[in-house]
């Protein structure tokens, strides 16, 4: 009798074991990796402290505070709006783990769309995580999705009608936090996260706010600082400063009629001066080859070299070196520093003085891992 069923039993046990292993691995995606803020940290709250409506959801996320105790301005640095953009999250982590503030305050949100860190984009073949060697070992980080996890917000409408502009976008963009600002308290999860961020900016009287991104080498908006038209001078001052440091950024005005984006709505709905920066990430591009951790971190892909040689499109890709993670993180941190420097010139009454962040050359020389605690 047992003999008759033996193969069934064995197959069942093997399947169950594999199922449990897969479930554990899948479950891990919902556990964020530990971060190790530097000594300057003075507080940590949750985004839901600014808006109850996201409490207990995967959209809730940590907000770190560095308060110098000296009266000044307030900055907000956000990474992970799109968790498939490795340098976005990682730049924020490097800032979090090194920053010290001697005037004013700095808020940091490393996982702006926390829900999107818990899944990856289907059909893209992205690795689930990547590792960075550090001084004392290696740190593993999740590579997430561009949009909110469908387990947290489903289904998508056929056409997304952006609130409150009514601008029509593809249904998928319903889960894109950077199309959801200013958000609304009774909206879908993504809109509620967006609303919570706007509440934080308002309540904490944020003066300058950063939204850090990456994009494909072939899109027109890459290696840029996108600025709100009200704050043109701050952007231009920073671009000249960055150029003197050997880093070229192109200025881009936020289009008035393209809604839901941080650089538009934070500027329209709050008193903050918003900036969005993009680096070139070949692992996100349509022309990429094999999509693995090496491509995410080394950013080297021959297809882009070939594409650039055709001259058909403008391609933001450096043939010799590729677009390695140190270069991308280094650019973002330099961008934050120079924009704050430029802001300080125009707003001397609300100074923000930040220290101890590695500069571009240091990150290029020593690697990102050197500037991660643990």
């Amino acid at each position: 009798m047992i003999r008759n069923h033996l193969s069934t039993i064995i197959i069942t046990i093997i399947t169950a074991t594999l199922g449990v292993i897969a479930a554990i691995s899948f479950g891990k995606m919902h556990h964020p990796e530990e971060l190790f803020p530097g000594d300057g940290l003075t507080g940590k709250v949750m985004l839901s402290d600014y808006f109850e409506g996201i409490k207990g959801t995967n959209g809730d996320t940590e907000v770190y505070l560095f308060d110098s105790g000296v009266e000044g301005g307030t900055a907000l640095v956000c990474g992970g709006a799109h968790p498939n953009e490795a340098a976005s999250f990682l730049s924020t982590v490097v800032i979090l783990e090194n920053l010290s503030v001697t005037c004013g305050r700095v808020f940091i949100i490393p996982r702006l769309n926390n829900s999107a860190f818990t899944c990856s984009d289907p059909m893209e073949g992205f690795p689930a995580s990547y590792e960075i060697p550090t001084k004392s070992g290696t740190r593993r980080f999740r590579l997430g999705s561009r949009v909110t996890n469908p387990l947290d917000q489903w289904p998508d409408p056929l056409v997304f009608s952006q609130y409150p502009s009514n601008q029509q976008l593809s249904g998928f963009e319903t889960r894109n936090i950077n199309r959801s600002y200013p958000g609304r308290p009774n909206g879908n999860l993504t809109e509620r996260i967006a609303y919570a961020i706007v509440q934080l900016i308002d309540k904490e009287k944020v003066n300058i706010a950063f939204d850090i991104h990456e994009s494909s080498p072939e899109v027109p908006i890459v290696n840029v600082i996108v600025y709100h038209e009200k704050y043109e001078e701050v952007a231009m001052g920073a671009i000249l400063g960055l150029e003197m440091a050997g880093l070229q950024f192109s200025p881009e005005t936020s289009p008035k009629n393209f809604h839901g984006l941080s650089h538009r709505e934070w500027g329209d709905y709050t008193n903050a001066i918003p900036f969005l920066m993009e680096t070139s990430n070949p692992s996100m591009g349509r022309l990429r080859g094999r999509t693995d951790v090496d491509l995410v971190l080394r950013g080297y892909c021959d297809n882009y070299k070939k594409a650039k040689e055709t001259g058909a499109l403008r391609i933001a890709y450096r043939e010799e070196t590729g677009e390695p993670i140190a270069h991308r993180v280094g650019r973002h941190i330099a961008g934050v520093v120079e924009l704050i420097n430029s802001y300080n010139l125009y707003y001397p009454d609300n100074q923000i003085v930040i220290e101890n962040l590695p500069d571009y050359e240091m990150i290029m020389e020593k690697g990102v891992g050197e500037f991660l605690n643990n």
Partner: protein
């Protein structure tokens, strides 16, 4: 007699030398405009301010806007965000630039090309604007990275247009100011 002739010759030489130098001078007030709506034009506006130029920036200047100006500075470079902000197509923008250039040529208002965006404002959709403005300019001021393939220098050579190349955007402020001194 001999001294007289030599004096006249000297004066004539000085006169022609002077006028050829004068040909490279431009007069204020200056109208600054974009071709392709990249925000680089905002940087040029800032540089012009730092050089104390009597300059007005009109992103989408039309022929009528030329009234009262003695020099037109055009900053070419394509930006989809910029065109989006202006709510116009690339074709509309090309048409606008073409008619602005034609009007300036009719009014004998010299055009200065200022390309500061490096390779970010080259190739792809930028070069149609770069070409159009370069072909019609009386002077070109270009940040070197934008001329790595010799795009601007070959136009300058072919059309005998003076070209100044600088390493960095910030270094373009002085030569810009000098055009009007």
């Amino acid at each position: 007699m001999k001294t007289r002739i030599s004096t006249i010759v000297t004066i004539l030489i000085l006169f022609f030398a002077g006028s050829s130098l004068l040909a490279q001078k431009f007069e204020q007030p200056v109208l600054i405009s974009s071709a392709g709506q990249s925000a680089d034009v905002k940087l040029v506006k800032m540089l012009a301010q730092r050089q104390d130029l009597n300059a007005t920036t009109v992103l989408m200047a039309k022929s009528e806007d030329l009234t009262g100006f003695k020099t037109l500075v055009i900053v070419p470079g394509f930006s989809s965000k910029g065109l989006g902000a202006a709510g116009i197509s690339q074709q509309d923008e090309l048409e606008r630039v073409r008619s602005l250039i034609n009007a300036a040529n009719d009014l004998k208002i010299p055009i200065v090309l200022m390309h500061i965006g490096g390779n970010a404002r080259r190739q792809g959709q930028s070069d149609s604007f770069n070409q159009l403005v370069a072909d019609n300019s009386k002077f070109m001021l270009v940040v070197k990275q934008g001329d790595e393939d010799g795009f601007f220098s070959s136009i300058a050579r072919a059309k005998n247009i003076p070209l100044t190349l600088v390493e960095k955007i910030a270094e373009s402020a002085e030569p810009l100011g000098n055009l009007f001194k």
